[in-house]
């Protein structure tokens, strides 16, 4: 019996998203929900939406970002509520009408659930692969992976995170990697440079992971947890489950001079960036350290806001200088990551390249820092990539559109000398958050792209505003 098999085009898509980090996931979901045939490619499908820096989302300023993304139908909010293991009310100096919370999520589960959401999304395909080339062809692009597969698309969202020529280092040790243990992506940058894009180096740093069994919690104060938090418009209820506590403690001698003078290896540029970064963080916090749990099923904890790229010996000295951590041991050292980001002015306010129609950039490749910032860019890049592939007009995020607006404004116009962190932007722009204005703009966007469900959710949670 002659068997024939149907020819299926597994390699033609409307939108391809490169990288399944926080921005990539939002972009892929947004594009797929907008009925574009979407493919998301990640080097390993076991590493979707992982968290290299801490596992706390939300907070005073970023909480607003979360909310804005959530209103637009993004997943980061829902996934956060779903996997939260502790919720703390953030210090709200501004008396804003909406409260903000800090959510500690189970890292592992966050990643697994996000992957699940992607797997179950209609119009969305996932693929494990390392992208090595993007070529411009008629009507779109050809995306090539290292196993010689070739995917055609009308629009591409590039969100490689810290993997673009990523190198990690601590003490004198340096290795090519996008994250600890994971291979980086090299040829993609070459391919983008061939297209005319220009890159420069950026740095970020992670905190060490501490063995929870070696922590003396009695010397620390437990953070007051909250049992009722604002509901997500995505209909995922937060029951206020409290599973793991976070703790407050202090660096013993509140003098950073000590730490910064200890011997470090590495080049001067990195050292300067690192010390500036550390000082800035500590000016904000006054030597205060918050210890967060990594997950439900692990004893691992990590101290927020003391990232390090010192040698392991040095790291231990610093850690043991924190109240309650005198006998602590480090499970995994903090490290610095050097990676490539775009030079300024290569991403527009709509996340699209001003030079190439159809190429969108999202995430830390735009010089930002933070999961929420990445997700915000991702969702707009995804929506716009989808609109572009349908031949429709794109959404421009105006400055008035809340924190998302400022963020995008900074990305498209800023000079990127330091990583763009929304908290800095807030003080820079002296922004007065007017939720009604934000609501109006987001509502308009949702109307434009025809998202009935998201509009219904929005009205249900935040109320109907007259005149819209």
């Amino acid at each position: 019996m002659e068997r024939t098999f149907k020819k299926k085009s597994f390699t033609e898509y409307d939108v391809v998203v490169i990288g399944a980090g926080h921005s990539g996931c939002e972009a892929a979901l947004a594009s797929a929900k907008n009925k574009s045939k979407t493919l998301i490619i990640n080097i390993s499908l076991d590493n979707v939406a992982t968290m290299q820096h801490g596992n706390v989302l939300g907070g005073n300023v970023k909480g607003h970002l979360l909310r804005e993304i959530d209103i637009l139908g993004g997943e980061i909010g829902a996934n956060t509520w779903r996997n939260a293991i502790n919720v703390v009310k953030s210090e709200n100096g501004n008396n804003e009408e909406i409260n903000n919370y800090r959510f500690t999520v189970d890292k592992r589960r966050y990643s697994l659930f996000m992957k699940n959401v992607l797997e179950s999304q209609e119009n969305l395909d996932m693929r494990q692969g390392l992208v090595v080339e993007i070529k411009k062809i008629k009507d779109g692009f050809k995306i090539k992976t290292s196993d010689c597969m070739s995917y055609g698309c009308n629009a591409v969202v590039i969100s490689p995170g810290s993997f673009l020529n990523g190198n990690i280092f601590w003490g004198k040790y340096r290795i090519e990697a996008g994250k600890q243990g994971e291979i980086n992506s090299k040829r993609l940058q070459n391919s983008l440079e061939d297209l005319g894009f220009k890159f420069k180096k950026a740095f970020t740093f992670t905190t060490p992971g501490i063995d929870g069994k070696t922590i003396n919690f009695n010397m620390m104060k437990r953070q007051k947890s909250v049992f009722r938090a604002i509901m997500s418009s995505n209909n995922v209820k937060f029951e206020g489950r409290l599973i793991k506590k976070s703790f407050i403690t202090y660096i013993k001698n509140n003098d950073f001079g000590n730490i910064l003078n200890s011997p470090r290896a590495g080049n001067e540029e990195i050292e300067k960036i690192f010390s500036d970064y550390l000082i800035k963080i500590h000016k904000r916090n006054n030597g205060l350290i918050i210890l967060q749990p990594e997950g439900i099923n692990t004893t691992g904890m990590y101290p927020e806001n003391i990232p390090m790229a010192f040698s392991e010996k040095e790291q231990l000295k610093i850690i043991q200088n924190v109240r309650g951590l005198e006998n602590a041991s480090i499970t995994r050292p903090g490290y610095g990551i050097e990676y490539s980001i775009l030079e300024p002015l290569q991403t527009g306010i709509n996340m699209k390249s001003p030079v190439y129609d159809g190429i969108f950039f999202a995430g830390i490749i735009n010089g930002t820092y933070g999961y929420e910032e990445s997700a915000a860019q991702g969702i707009i890049a995804g929506i716009n990539a989808s609109l572009y592939s349908k031949g429709l007009g794109l959404i421009d995020m105006k400055k008035e559109v809340g924190y998302t607006g400022i963020l995008f404004s900074e990305i498209s116009l800023g000079d990127k000398t330091t990583p763009i962190d929304i908290v800095d932007l807030k003080s820079m722009y002296n922004f007065k958050y007017d939720f009604f204005e934000v609501y109006k703009e987001l509502y308009k966007i949702l109307r434009f792209i025809g998202r009935k469900k998201e509009i219904e959710n929005m009205e249900r949670v935040y109320g109907k505003y007259p005149g819209l």
Binding site: S44, E119, T145, C148, Y173, G181, G300
Partner: protein, 628 residues
């Protein structure tokens, strides 16, 4: 708990895969300060290939590890999505338990176990060097320059040593897809003087479950009973998510044959050997051209995951061809590959460089376990890890090592094979390797081995007493069966027919009746003796086994006894074979290379004939004046 800040431990385990986890948990539970080092603490106990634990030959290994107090069985019981009895209609020697595992839950659970075990420290670090002093391992150094000291080191690095991934004609360094390999440790081992070779293993593509047409496949359910690997009362679960079975066809084979030049086997990209009993579909088609179809099992990788593992379609052909191949299979016409299959090539140390304790002959206090010894399979790795760990601990304590033998366990068969045979492909366990497989059954692993667990302190006295109590009950039940019988009478015969067997024509003991293959002991007892619930399922199962297979079991016991002498006869490790007249040159060469510990082991070395063994035994008798 006090953090360890001086980096000194009793035992260091390099690698937190299946072997590493067993080793570290065993030594920590035995009270030794243990460090387990891994490249990435978020990748513990990964299952890079089949989402399954157990199966023919392997189930026995899991049970044996469990019987001695190891971990794998317990974690599998907690995280399976399906559990099944295999070959339940065939003889007890080949029966096995097989689980489909939720991979991610398994990792989370194993990491949780490691973190919550006293005396055990988990650290992230890539080991690049074994530190040696006076011919003994005294510690390790990581790539970032950190030094850890210990009295013993167990190396369980899996497929990471100079790992290279191959898909079609593309290759790049990696230990697993997306993870960078360990490059320097191999070099270090070579420099120390170990003989190293390379093997490869491959994994099939995964497809998007939403694109599979399950209506064209046949469903494969679990057994649905409350089956467990673990002998002890550890918590399990009751999941029963099905797998599906389909087949390749002539079109599949045609496409493979047409594209065979792209297969790394043919193209020369891979010239190392892969596991023969886990062959790629390319190899199956080359080797079995007359077969019109090969089975393909569609297995979910987790309870929540949409990814389906295609068992039977292992390949490292180029990704595009893999897609074509997959789409020829019934039910997979529209299936989209999510992860392409690939081969990974890696260094391993030739295992005849180890002793029965898995300590290396070259360097003292240095042990090797798992895929680094040339084996393939999670269960094989875990078993070795356990043995290496407990023996490292025993040595530190000054106690006698735990030696597994061919007569007491599958683990013993595996270790003996590794030390004795020529490895031309990764070693995988299957039942036909064990000549005493009727004695080494899944169901009696606790009887055979829990005493070792007790000796090591990994099994409690209560648990051991439970095993002995059950054995007493089995003996009691057997003697009951032998001393009670039935007479041929109308009522009796009616009952016998209702139990599914022929009526009696003369009086018979229950024992004799139970020997009939179709009679089940529980039904027999229920029918004729109410209130026989002093015996639980396990006692019934063992009794039934002993009765039905009495003849075969006795025969194997006799065979084992006959060879006992030769097995246990110790050969001095420094014996100069070249000075022995009467043995062939080839035998002298092989014996000098392998340095067997016992005459039994010597007899199994390829190139050593029975005549050589006779000559050896006479020489050794003369030397020691002992009677053989």
């Amino acid at each position: 708990m006090r953090g360890n800040t001086n980096n000194t431990f009793d035992i260091i385990v390099v690698g937190a895969g299946h072997a590493g986890c067993e080793a570290a948990l065993a030594t920590a539970r035995m009270g030794l300060k243990t460090l387990i080092l891994t490249i990435n603490v978020d990748k513990i106990a990964l299952m890079p290939c089949n989402p399954s634990i157990g199966g023919i030959g392997k189930s026995q290994l899991v049970r044996e590890i469990d019987a001695m107090g190891g971990q794998m069985g317990k974690t599998a019981d907690k995280t399976f999505i399906q559990i099944k009895n295999l070959n339940s209609s065939k003889g007890p020697a080949v029966q096995a338990l097989r689980t489909q595992i939720d991979k991610k839950e398994y990792e989370i659970e194993m990491k949780k176990t490691l973190e919550n075990t006293a005396n055990l420290t988990l650290r992230q670090g890539t080991v690049s060097e074994i530190i040696i002093e006076d011919g003994n391992a005294v510690g390790v150094k990581t790539e970032s320059g950190v030094i850890f000291k210990a009295r013993s080191v167990v190396v369980t690095s899996g497929t990471f040593l100079r790992g290279r991934i191959i898909i079609g004609d593309k290759d790049y360094p990696a230990g697993r897809m997306g993870e960078y390999p360990a490059m320097r440790l191999s070099e270090n081992l070579l420099n120390i003087g170990f003989k190293i070779d390379r093997f490869q293993t491959a994994t099939p593509p995964r497809v998007d479950g939403r694109t599979v047409d399950f209506s064209k496949t046949s469903i494969q359910n679990g057994s649905g009973e409350s089956l467990r690997f673990s002998f002890w009362d550890a918590p399990g679960n009751n999941n029963n998510i099905p797998c599906h079975l389909t087949y390749t066809n002539e079109l599949t084979h045609k496409i493979i044959a047409e594209n065979i030049r792209y297969s790394p086997i043919k193209s020369g990209m891979v010239d190392t050997h892969g596991p023969r009993h886990c062959p790629s579909i390319d190899r199956k088609v080359i080797n079995f051209p007359e077969k019109t179809r090969h089975p393909v099992f569609i297995e979910p990788e987790g309870a929540l995951s949409n990814e389906m593992y295609l068992q039977g379609l292992t390949t490292s052909m180029p990704a595009l061809i893999q897609q074509k191949i997959v789409n020829t299979v019934d039910g997979l016409e529209d299936a989209r590959i999510v992860r392409p299959g690939y081969a990974v090539e890696y260094d391993y140390i030739i295992p005849d460089q180890l002793n029965f304790t898995l300590e290396s002959k070259l360097i003292g206090n240095l042990y090797f376990a798992g895929q680094i010894n040339g084996t393939s399979g999670y269960e094989e790795a875990a078993a070795q890890g356990f043995i290496a760990g407990v023996n490292a601990a025993q040595k530190i304590r000054g106690n006698r090592p735990i030696i597994m033998t061919r007569e007491n366990s599958y683990i013993g068969v595996m270790i003996d094979d590794l030390l004795t045979k020529e490895l031309i492909e990764p070693y995988r366990m299957y039942t036909s390797r064990a000549e005493y497989r009727l004695l080494l059954r899944s169901d009696n692993a606790d009887v055979r081995l829990s005493k070792f667990g007790l000796k090591l302190g990994l099994i409690t006295k209560e648990q051991f007493a439970g095993v002995q109590l059950r054995e007493e009950k089995v003996k009691e039940l057997i003697s009951f069966l032998k001393s009670n019988g039935l007479n041929p009478g109308h009522k009796t015969n009616q009952k016998l027919i209702s139990v599914g067997t022929k009526p009696l024509d003369k009086p018979n003991t229950l024992y004799q009746i139970l020997k009939r293959p179709e009679v089940s002991i529980s039904r027999l007892m229920r029918e004729f003796y109410n209130g026989q619930d002093r015996y639980d399922e396990k006692v019934f199962a063992r009794t039934e086994m002993m009765v039905k297979y009495e003849g075969y079991i006795n025969r194997q016991v006799a065979e084992a006894k006959k060879l006992e002498g030769i097995e246990k006869y110790i050969i001095p490790l420094d014996l100069d074979y070249y000075k022995i007249m009467g043995i062939t040159y080839e035998a002298r060469e092989k014996l000098s290379n392998k340095r067997p510990n016992t005459l039994g082991q010597a007899s199994r070395i390829a190139g050593v004939s029975p005549v050589d063994i006779s000559v050896l035994s006479i020489i050794l008798k003369k030397k020691s004046g002992k009677q053989l």
